[in-house]
Symmetry: C2
Subunit: 445 residues, 2 copies
């Protein structure tokens, strides 16, 4: 995939068509890429039906005796076909308001047949089709009742740590800027924004961006849509109904439940987009850091963009995504190595746990169950006032609405580590901006 330089844009509130078109015009390569993702979504149904047809063809070739024994299985395959059609219908809805990727040849009635492909669309590969199918599972993970357990496992430790560090009783939460790189379908970012923090999600994949835009901006009531996220899993099914289990989404409607805090999703490559030092009070990464060619680049960037005293909260395994991808560079440091790296970069490891049981987009009925024994840590970018800070903490309890207490004291004392003066200003400027825009623009105020 191509990088997107600093081309970030808010997806919530949603980008208007003109802005999107300008963005697309400026970025021809990007437009091509978005078109490819869109084509993969549109080819979802035919691709899934091809797979189904192979089973059906083989079934039809078997002896009459075998076919009698498989009569219910045949009925089941017909049901699988229906589920694929329904998934494709939801995907059509997801693509209906294509404000993000206006292509001249593809405007008009979204339910028309020409939205779909009988032949594989150009440049779309099996990996893209896998991603289209995975997107459905990730919608279930982030935005369905069925995903609640996975979210509890993955997001709650992160949220709890942030709330513990940036206590609502001690901070004006809307002035606490949180960045969530690898935001995916956006639920973690949304939950943090609901608590009142000023949140920015960052996501690179247009499969994720298009789907999250739909959930965040275009779903107008709870549980409006039905998906069949496990319909592509033909193996390890106990019961026929397990493969065709329905999942409703969204379990919470963000349009009807706008977060208290500022909330936006920025598209782009984390390393390309985030270059401003001392910009965030917190970076929260969940199943993200193993998406780097060189994880040190991620860690160094996170360190750089945090304000002194800011924290990085991480949860996830070390499933280095490029580990066995041909043509991709990859190193795969162990947790031991990461500890060395984090401290070398300058972080203070405040908390570190291993073995956090976390499932990721698991079919709960499958006979194969996988889970990660995830890592969890809270790292702090140190400032030079840790002793005073410790004392402040002790006397902080009864305060109300303290506006960035640490920053003020740091400014008073005028002692800042290298790069910090600029960073501090940057931070204050950012906070001021956030103050003026804590409501979601798309919402009636």
């Amino acid at each position: 995939m191509s990088s997107m330089d600093c081309a970030t844009f808010p997806m919530h509130p949603k980008m208007d068509e003109q802005l999107a078109r300008a963005f697309a015009a400026n970025e021809e390569e990007e437009e091509k890429h978005i078109q490819k993702v869109q084509n993969a979504f549109l080819y979802y149904g035919p691709y899934a039906c091809q797979r189904l047809k192979r089973s059906m063809d083989y079934l039809n070739s078997l002896s009459g005796e075998d076919q009698i024994m498989l009569a219910r299985y045949r009925g089941h395959l017909e049901c699988v076909r229906t589920c694929i059609d329904r998934n494709q219908a939801v995907i059509r809805e997801i693509l209906r308001e294509r404000v993000l990727y206006p292509a001249e040849e593809a405007t008009g009635d979204p339910s028309a047949d020409r939205w779909e492909f009988d032949e594989p669309p150009p440049n779309v590969r099996h990996g893209d089709m896998d991603q289209a199918q995975s997107t459905l599972k990730l919608i279930a993970r982030d935005w369905s009742t069925e995903g609640a357990l996975e979210r509890e496992q993955s997001y709650k430790p992160i949220i709890d740590s942030i709330v513990e560090y940036y206590k609502p009783s001690d901070f004006e939460l809307k002035e606490i800027k949180i960045l969530v790189p690898g935001a995916g379908l956006g639920r973690l970012t949304y939950e943090l924004a609901c608590l009142g923090y000023s949140c920015e999600g960052n996501e690179f994949s247009y499969f994720m961006l298009i789907a999250s835009n739909f959930v965040l901006n275009l779903c107008d009531y709870e549980n409006k849509y039905v998906l069949y996220p496990w319909v592509h899993q033909y193996v390890n099914n106990l019961r026929r109904e397990d493969q065709v289990a329905a999942v409703r989404f969204p379990d919470v409607c963000p349009l009807k439940n706008p977060p208290k805090g500022h909330f936006e999703i920025a598209a782009g490559d984390f390393l390309e987009v985030y270059k401003t030092p001392n910009a965030y009070n917190c970076v929260a990464t969940c199943f993200f850091i193993d998406c780097a060619n060189n994880v040190i680049d991620f860690i160094r960037t996170i360190y750089k963009i945090l304000v002194p005293g800011g924290i990085w909260v991480n949860l996830g395994p070390l499933l280095y995504h490029y580990s066995d991808v041909s043509g991709q560079n990859s190193i795969e440091p162990t947790f031991e190595d990461l500890c060395i790296i984090m401290e070398s970069v300058g972080f203070v490891i405040e908390t570190s746990r291993t073995g956090i049981r976390t499932k990721y987009a698991q079919n709960p009925s499958s006979m194969k169950q996988s889970e990660y024994q995830s890592l969890f840590w809270v790292c702090r970018k140190p400032d030079t006032f840790e002793e005073q800070r410790g004392k402040r903490k002790a006397s902080r309890e009864p305060h109300d609405l303290i506006v960035r207490e640490d920053s003020e004291e740091e400014e008073e004392e005028e002692q800042q580590p290298e790069q910090n003066e600029m960073g501090q200003k940057q931070q204050l400027k950012t906070l001021a901006m956030a103050n003026g825009d804590t409501e979601m623009k798309a919402q009636p105020t």
Copy 2:
């Protein structure tokens, strides 16, 4: 892979070189296939080192600052290299007595460099290399102390059921013929033979056959060899040492602990090799039935080769192996469908459980843990004397060494279901043969 018709041969006692050569001469295609497997084994080291080199090259391209942080990681990669070399040395041992696949050009000193390839050998694909690596993991599963838990999970329910059905107090165990299709590295077959049953393992993969031949026939004392089965797992490692953990094998030396019962391993395609009706008292399948294009073929064959009153014991998930293999036919009936199929074929389902937690060749230290919620069942091929049989059971308890009580009574009553007369004779003939050969031929008696 090609089928092998009825070309079975005992691997334990091991085939002599002349016999092997005759076998190979008759089966040119087979010989080619064996050569390919051997080549994959010999290419193991270079292939694994290529993967390692990509990480090392990327590491060397990083900044000096990054490389300092990764100093221990670099040392670790060098350790990985050593483990790969040691694995290759064990593979050389495994291939040393190549009685199964005598190739003219490849006799001589097995430690010579020419045993290995710098270039990919002809016809060897990534899938073959994966299988060579998997073989190391399966040796650990079947023949190391570290594999004890997995064996307890997978083999104990099967063994317990067989012992319960063919009680040592009620049967002359050496007359109870058990077939284990998909015998793999042979441990389940070995354990059943150790109890005194007359056991035949069947295996299709020469990766498995070559490795099991080594463990069963050529390892002369316990824990003689060391393998590093997890060395190819670069991701999800907590500690560097997790990737390079050593596993000794064999935990039990079959040569020094020969089974009480007859024991042999037969090579070949289950559907091609096993066509004789009413030949086995028990078929035990473990992680096997999902290896079929059409699982009905397996179930029907199992039914056919069982004697009336014989049992099929199965444990495993439904990870249909051909489900997404291009160019392969596959249907994927659920457990519900299998129950219909088993009963339609004629089986009586005696016991059936779901959710048996079973790991399969899992790295115990990995941050990713998968397990199957396996199915378990005992099915019986019915005879027409079930009522009497039920009564007999009630009065059977105190008997000693009853020789195939059911068969005798069936003969007395001369009532047999279709095909049964021939089958009964076949069975008795088989039993007589087994009586004359209950010791392992390779062992001093």
